[in-house]
């Protein structure tokens, strides 16, 4: 037991070191870092202004009929927060190994005396913290401009939902990260996945407006439950299923995606070692 605790402490230090290393690299390029904080805000605004142009104000009777609340600004903003989490899995985590390759440090990272999952946890920790900061700035500025109307009592349970959802997204991120080891230039995979997920997750609209086959596909995406449950807690969205069901399905998706992510990661790791293509560019 003592040995196990000692080893876990050793791993925790490695996870923290990976997180700190990423912050140091990013903070070296300050203008880029600041731009990264502003981008999600600029990204969300056209969707909000488009909504206002369609409705002629911030309240939509149609949306009220579909989800129980007509406030398009709060509805769309809370949905767009989750794009940040998707980006974390698809781009930040997904391209972390490729980034190490650009820097010429992938071989050193892989030769370190820790299991691969420790490295994956380190990049997940950094991505989560960085994304959390970006989302905070986005919410703060949109709240200053438009004044979001949320139920403060829903904030804590919302954070809990996000935490459970993140576990599933880490699995997705690990899978993409390992795929880049094979494809090398895997942007197209991330672009395509990101485009598809943007459509089927109910970010700026409820699931009810999607065709049936897309609604069914959305049920396998963790962010679907994350978005709907958070909006349920913060603005009373009618989900069509209970909060307990949502947590249960999120937990199931978490187990499934993480297992899938680890298996794919292991298979590709072994394959690239066997074929000797790890150092290929």
């Amino acid at each position: 037991m003592k040995q196990f605790i000692k080893q876990m402490k050793h791993y925790a230090r490695a996870v923290w070191a990976e997180n700190i290393k990423e912050w140091k690299v990013e903070l070296t390029y300050k203008p880029d870092f600041i731009r990264g904080l502003i981008d999600p805000l600029v990204y969300a605004l056209p969707y909000l202004l488009y909504g206002i142009a369609l409705v002629g104000g911030r309240n939509s009777k149609t949306l009220q009929g579909l989800v129980g609340s007509g406030d398009i600004i709060t509805f769309v903003t809370l949905g767009y927060v989750f794009i940040g989490f998707l980006n974390m899995a698809l781009w930040a985590m997904g391209f972390s190994l490729r980034k190490e390759q650009y820097w010429g440090t992938l071989e050193s990272v892989f030769a370190a005396p820790v299991p691969r999952w420790v490295f994956a946890m380190g990049m997940a920790a950094h991505s989560t913290l960085h994304q959390g900061l970006m989302i905070s700035v986005q919410l703060l500025v949109i709240n200053l401009i438009f004044k979001l109307t949320i139920n403060p009592a829903g904030i804590l349970p919302s954070l809990l939902v996000v935490a459970v959802m993140l576990i599933a997204l880490y699995g997705l991120g690990m899978m993409i990260a390992s795929v880049t080891l094979v494809l090398k230039q895997g942007q197209l995979v991330s672009e395509a996945l990101s485009g598809i997920m943007m459509i089927i997750t109910p970010i700026a609209y409820p699931l009810a407006v999607l065709p049936l086959f897309l609604r069914k596909a959305a049920m396998f995406i963790p962010t679907t439950y994350g978005i709907m449950t958070v909006r349920h807690f913060l603005m009373g969205e009618n989900m069509g299923f209970s909060v307990a069901t949502s947590f249960f399905r999120l937990a199931l998706l978490g187990i499934a995606w993480v297992t899938f992510g680890i298996i794919i990661f292991e298979i590709i790791d072994q394959r690239t070692r066997r074929t000797g293509t790890i150092s290929h560019y």
Partner: protein, 275 residues
């Protein structure tokens, strides 16, 4: 260098860029279709907010109640802009990745001539992508793009692109100086999305309306939508065309001078070959 020699270089560079692009056909198909994928969330958002495909308040702002063709036109025209931004603006940076920038700079050709070749190639590739989008819009989404409207639309697109490519050439000079501009290109993309009517009518806010007046894309989109959606004749859009011509002159001359200045500055600093 004579005009004939420069023309040969432009055509050779054009061929080289297209050959490289055709080596990755999946990228070409993907970028032809992807902008239409990005459009779908707007369609579903519209359905969720107004319960159909048209809106009275949208009509009050744009003159057209149907929001799908509005966004489709924005998507197609912006394909040219973003391909120019990445393909021309970032092209010298790509030469750095390939290790061929020094050869271009050291050759007895003005780099602007090489950039003109890249610009021509980018225009051809973007036109191929827009054609795919226009065919999908016409046959699957019911947008009325008749041949009679294509000629005046192309005139406006060319007036937009002449100035924009001037800006992109200046941006290419910027990459010589600061090297990695990936993030800046992304930021510029979002500036265009936010302050020009690609995805929403900028008239919805006085701030976006005022700032959009500084961007040539705004005038081009208003004119093109006028021709396609409101059946306006190109002759009635002469004021917009004059503004675009004025912006073209400023951007082409300004872009050329700025590129020359940035290139000279990078040579003097001795940082051309730095990565």
């Amino acid at each position: 260098m004579t005009f004939k020699n420069n023309l040969k270089i432009i055509l050779a560079e054009n061929k080289k860029t297209i050959d490289i692009a055709l080596s990755y056909p999946i990228f070409l198909v993907f970028w032809g279709i992807a902008p239409l994928l990005w459009l779908l969330p707007f369609v579903f958002q519209g359905k969720a907010l107004v319960g159909g495909m048209s809106s009275a308040s949208f009509k009050a702002l744009t003159g057209s109640a149907n929001f799908l063709p509005f966004i489709l036109i924005g998507t197609m025209v912006s394909t040219y802009i973003f391909s120019g931004l990445w393909g021309v603006g970032n092209s010298l940076r790509e030469e750095t990745y390939w290790g061929t920038l020094e050869y271009i700079i050291a050759s007895p050709t003005n780099p602007v001539v090489v950039l003109l070749g890249k610009t021509l190639a980018e225009f051809i590739l973007a036109s191929a992508n827009v054609t795919i989008q226009a065919l999908i819009a016409t046959f699957f989404l019911g947008v009325n793009l008749t041949l009679a409207k294509i000629f005046p639309v192309m005139v406006i697109v060319l007036l937009l692109l002449i100035g924009f490519y001037g800006f992109a050439i200046a941006f290419a000079g910027f990459t010589l100086l600061i090297k990695e501009v990936h993030g800046y290109v992304h930021s510029l993309e979002w500036v265009f999305y936010l302050f020009s009517p690609i995805r929403y009518p900028v008239e919805v806010s006085s701030i976006t309306k005022t700032l959009s007046a500084l961007i040539p894309l705004t005038y081009a989109l208003v004119a093109i939508r006028g021709i396609i959606l409101l059946n306006k004749h190109i002759v009635n859009l002469w004021q917009t065309m004059l503004i675009l011509i004025g912006m073209d002159i400023v951007l082409i001359i300004g872009g050329y001078l700025l590129f020359q200045y940035l290139e000279r500055k990078t040579r003097q600093a001795g940082t051309i070959s730095q990565y």
